[in-house]
């Protein structure tokens, strides 16, 4: 039962952050395509946004690790 919880936590908890990161990067690509001169600025802000989105996935990972390794 615990193993099921671990697997499901990570699987479901990774879905929406992955979507969020994909959307972010897609919009960043579009913006760079429109204005190649601002590429570094857009890239820096994109990395920042991706860190926020990824943090949610990391929370799910930490919960999964806690369930698995804390008896």
């Amino acid at each position: 039962m615990e193993l099921l919880a671990v697997g499901l936590t990570m699987a479901i908890g990774g879905m929406v952050p992955a979507l969020a990161i994909g959307l972010l990067t897609a919009k960043a690509m579009e913006a760079i395509g429109r204005n190649p001169e601002a590429a570094t600025k857009i890239q820096t802000n994109m990395i920042l946004g991706i860190a926020f989105a990824e943090a949610i996935a990391i929370y799910a990972l930490v919960v999964a690790l806690i369930i698995k390794f804390v008896p």
Binding site: T44, I47, L48, A55, V62, L65, V70
Partner: protein, 244 residues
């Protein structure tokens, strides 16, 4: 069998204060940083070359980034933010040094013979990342107070209209959430990386762990960069003068 421990293992006691393996590594890293800074700034040449050139390159790149975010306040924020970056990048990469999960003592724990590693990546311990996150958030409040004096509290308690009051309460909550977010983002990334490396080394010790090591080097850099940049952005927001 694979032995992964979420909390850092205690290696010895200093008069009832438990010293963990990651604490040992943070102390070593601090001394290393101090030593390198001291030795590098003793004879500063007008035209840099070699090590000084490399350091100036790194500092200039980060300084340009800081200036593009904070503008005129960059000089005030740069030392804190760059120190965060240096300490965290070294802490993240320290878990990749060979020997870190393998050198240790054999101890009896709950009737099983387990290896207690002598060293552990500095930021793979929630205590370290929590400490860094607390320093960051407290520094944000400190700089905010120093810049705006008492009106800084208007960011959280604005009694002009109920909407602004609600937004202020949300800001207060979000500052607490920042502590959790900073510490868990850094801890999760680095600890998960260590687990990943352990598992790949356990399954296929030859060749296959190499791309994962490269990934971990990259992730270590990115997480240090993210921590420093987010601190800078929040500092900038906290010290922003009213009325744009």
């Amino acid at each position: 069998m694979l032995h992964i421990s979420l909390p850092a293992e205690i290696i010895f006691h200093l008069d009832s204060f438990p010293v963990t393996n990651s604490l040992l590594v943070t102390v070593l890293l601090t001394f290393l940083l101090l030593l390198v800074s001291f030795l590098s700034t003793r004879k500063v040449a007008r035209v840099p070359s070699g090590w000084q050139n490399f350091l100036e390159m790194v500092i200039e790149a980060f300084w340009n980034l800081t200036e593009s975010v904070a503008g005129k306040k960059a000089q005030r924020f740069f030392p804190l933010v760059f120190t965060f970056f240096l300490f965290i990048i070294l802490g993240n990469w320290s878990g990749l040094i060979p020997g870190f999960a393998s050198l240790g003592f054999w101890e009896m724990k709950e009737g099983r013979h387990v290896l207690v590693p002598l060293f552990r990546g500095a930021t793979a311990d929630l205590n370290t990342t929590l400490a860094l996150a607390l320093v960051s958030v407290v520094a944000i409040q400190y700089y905010g107070f120093r810049q705006l004096k008492l009106p800084y509290l208007k960011r959280f308690f604005d009694f002009k209209n109920p909407i602004k009051l609600f937004v202020g309460i949300l800001e207060l909550l979000s500052d607490f959430a920042k502590v959790i977010s900073f510490s868990f983002r850094l801890f999760g990334n680095i600890f998960a990386g260590e687990v990943l490396l352990l598992v790949t080394a356990f399954l296929t010790p030859l060749v296959v762990p190499v791309p994962f090591l490269l990934l971990e080097i990259f992730v270590g850099f990115i997480q240090a960069f993210i921590f420093a940049m987010l601190t800078l952005v929040f500092l900038n927001v906290a010290t922003a003068e009213e009325g744009h």
